[in-house]
């Protein structure tokens, strides 16, 4: 394949997004069906209310942190497209960070560029920012946190982590793997953590040092014994302080409206309306009475078990762990909307260079099954919502198939992955504990 420079790719992506924003304005003004996401009008209205000194929660269905409305205040005095440009800029920043993270891990330039293209040219991602959805901001913050950890800037990572959990609750699932990673074997005083190079993924641990190899089980054991370390404590204190400060300030300004809409709503959300989740029909059929504690626990159990096992097995390969956790979190959630897919799409390029999956046919099978299951669900949803047919049962079966497709993707991703811890283990004194021997033939 001819080489594509990352700079050209980036500039083309930026221009394409500008074009989409301009096109979106034209479509909104001239066609019945609007290009702009309905959420963008919610953000804009909330921002206008905030700009005039009122609560953004006077805008019904605004269920986000007031920071989002604050960021969009220029919509009311600059131009209504300010927010779209901000979200698209975040979208491009995600591409930049993906490229930077892969370069830090020693991935060759060509592979970096191809992996980044998976984000920059994904139809889900370039439409989401240009239509006015705020998810790219969250994605860029998560990648920035990853980069801070890779560069050894733990305190900075903690601050951004507290901020991102305030803005969106779901990154709370990353707390345990991050804390596990802040092990003294990776972080030592006065020294940056040493990243495991991409080129070593084909290497076997040296037989001379195999006796000192530390398994994930050993890590967890070490964690339990040496749980309290300076870095872990500081990470916890700074991220929690940031979260509680922002939450407390928002509560002080906007009261219980903020707590209900921006926090409790998301923690307790059970939407009986049709969505991709397998639980929607079950919730609708039981909406007239409250679920018992046992029923709630049983619904939560698969999610809890999967998260715990993925963390315990893959935490040290942090990008891979975050990707699997996010995909599983979305798949087993009680409510799934299309914007949630962006949460794991931003992490997918970070694991592709370590995946053995062949595009033909396993890769294609994953893509076709995942998109096919989604299309099947959308077809039944169209019949229900726009044709008025009673196809609740068929739609629910389609959601089961979508979970099956997600499970298939997770399983194949695990099977094809070349496990590669993010950091090398260090002895006391900063020397490497584990060496690698190169194979005789370099694969690239």
């Amino acid at each position: 394949m001819p080489g594509i420079s990352f700079q050209s790719l980036f500039i083309f992506s930026a221009l394409f997004r500008v074009f989409l924003i301009i096109y979106g304005e034209w479509q909104d003004a001239n066609m019945e069906v609007r290009y702009t996401d309905i959420d963008y009008f919610v953000f804009s209205d909330a921002a206008t209310l905030m700009a005039s000194g009122k609560s953004p929660y006077e805008r019904s269905t605004y269920c986000y942190s007031p920071l989002i409305a604050f960021l969009l205040m220029p919509n009311s005095f600059l131009h209504q497209t300010w927010g779209k440009f901000l979200f698209s800029a975040s979208d491009l920043l995600v591409g930049l960070l993906i490229h930077r993270i892969l370069k830090l891990r020693g991935v060759p330039e060509k592979l970096c560029t191809y992996s980044t293209m998976v984000w920059l040219f994904n139809p889900f991602t370039f439409t989401i920012g240009t239509r006015g959805n705020c998810e790219p901001i969250i994605c860029s913050m998560i990648l920035w946190i990853l980069m801070c950890l890779m560069n050894g800037h733990v305190l900075q990572a903690a601050f951004w982590y507290g901020l991102v959990v305030h803005m969106r609750i779901y990154p709370i699932i990353y707390a345990l793997p991050i804390v596990l990673l802040l092990d003294p074997q990776h972080f030592q005083p006065g020294k940056k953590p040493v990243l495991v190079e991409w080129s070593s993924r084909a290497l076997k641990p040296s037989s001379a040092t195999s006796s000192s190899k530390t398994s994930i089980t050993q890590y967890i054991w070490n964690f339990c014994i040496n749980m309290i370390t300076w870095r872990r404590v500081m990470f916890g204190i700074i991220s929690a302080s940031t979260f509680f400060f922002l939450t407390g300030l928002s509560f002080h300004l906007y009261g219980w409206d903020f707590l209900h809409e921006a926090l409790l709503y998301h923690l307790t959300r059970t939407d009986p309306r049709h969505n991709f989740s397998i639980y929607f029909y079950h919730i609708y059929l039981h909406y007239e009475h409250e679920f018992s504690i046992l029923e709630k626990l049983i619904s939560f159990l698969p999610q809890f078990i999967v998260q715990l096992v993925l963390i315990s097995r893959f935490a040290l390969d942090l990008p891979f762990c975050l990707f699997l956790q996010t995909l599983a979190f979305v798949a087993f959630n009680k409510v799934i909307t299309a914007q949630y897919f962006v949460w794991f799409f931003c992490l997918l390029p970070l694991i592709l260079p370590w995946s053995n999956i062949k595009l033909v046919w396993k890769g294609l099978a994953c893509i076709i099954l995942w998109i096919g299951a989604q299309t099947n669900w959308l077809a039944w949803a169209y019949l229900l919502e726009f044709r008025g047919k009673n196809v609740f049962f068929q739609l629910w079966v389609a959601s089961l198939l979508f979970l099956a497709a997600n499970t298939f993707v997770i399983i194949n991703t695990i099977c094809s992955h070349l496990y590669s811890p993010l950091f090398q283990q260090l002895k006391q004194g900063g020397k490497l504990k584990q060496g690698y021997e190169r194979p005789t033939a370099e694969p690239l």
Binding site: A202, E288, L301, N390, S420
Partner: protein, 300 residues
């Protein structure tokens, strides 16, 4: 002595504050009722300031007794010759959960009224009491106002867009339509107003397949803003029950609903499917070894 003086002063201040608050309250009350004889911007708003939910007999009483219908008096028309309803045709257009409630209203009027009605910026106000099970999106209506489809529109009552019908209350949509341009038609004694209100279905209670939602008649008002009264709005009620050819058959919308008999099977399979999927991932995760490093990695 000094203590007594202080008490007297405090008493005077309190009395002054009480009088001040009373004045403020009466001003607020007057402005919410649009001052005596005149109607505020939205007719329905006053109802929901006094009531928590829409109850038909209470709303009928509100229209009959609490709205100052003084248009005839203001127009100095002792016979109160206003446009009369000639025809009212209603239908629900579209398919699925998003439809339009269409109302086609034909008015007859005496030709000499035409100049007055155009000069006084008169408009027809339609209040649609929505049945439980459907709702209007206030922001969608605002978008239509911005595009000039209506001169104004608002929703009162339960405007929560997400709750199913058995967890929500009813709402009222108020649509304002200017009649100025409609009067300049080729007909010298009648004009027609067409109104399509976008509505959305809530999830209905469980049943056997479909849930039926029925619409009643709208309430129609003629309101004018007269310069002589400082452009304050005066209204008159236009009864719909004296239309000779209006068919009073109820307008209905069939909405698909969940089937109660599915509950057991759906719950059991949902739990089992989630558990099996989770166990597959768990088993594979435990079977995964980190010896993959010895496998041949892919090349570019």
């Amino acid at each position: 002595m000094e203590a007594r003086l202080l008490l007297v002063r405090i008493n005077s201040v309190l009395q002054f504050v009480l009088i001040f608050l009373t004045i403020i309250r009466s001003y607020v009350h007057a402005s919410t009722t649009g001052q005596a004889g005149y109607v505020d911007k939205y007719i329905t708003k006053t109802y929901f300031e006094k009531h928590d939910s829409l109850i038909d007999p209470e709303f009928d009483n509100f229209i009959a007794n609490e709205i100052p219908l003084t248009l005839c008096k203001v127009l100095e028309d002792g016979n109160c010759v206003l446009p009369t309803l000639s025809n009212l045709h209603r239908s629900v257009i579209g398919e699925g959960s998003h439809r339009h409630l269409s109302s086609s209203i034909i008015f007859k009027f005496q030709p000499e009224l035409k100049i007055k009605l155009v000069a006084h910026s008169c408009e027809v106000i339609m209040t649609e009491r929505l049945p439980s099970g459907v709702f209007a999106d206030p922001f969608e209506l605002q978008h239509l106002v911005q595009r000039g489809v209506f001169s104004d529109a608002a929703v009162f009552g339960d405007t929560n867009l997400e709750l199913p019908s058995f967890r929500s209350n009813r709402s009222v949509v108020e649509i304002h339509m200017s009649i100025g341009s409609k009067m300049l038609s080729r007909h010298h004694d009648k004009f027609e107003i067409n109104c399509e209100v976008p509505l959305h279905a809530r999830y209905p209670p469980l049943g056997l397949g479909f849930s039926r939602v029925e619409f009643g008649q709208p309430d129609l008002f003629m309101c004018c803003s007269l310069e002589v009264n400082g452009f304050k709005r005066s209204c008159a009620y236009l009864p719909t029950n004296n239309i000779s050819d209006y068919k009073a058959s109820p307008l209905a919308w069939e909405i698909p609903c969940g089937i109660r008999e599915h509950a057991g099977v759906v719950s059991a399979i949902t739990y089992c499917f989630a558990l099996v999927s989770a166990l597959l991932i768990v088993v594979l995760s435990f079977c995964y070894t980190d010896n993959k490093g010895s496998s041949k990695p892919k090349s570019l």
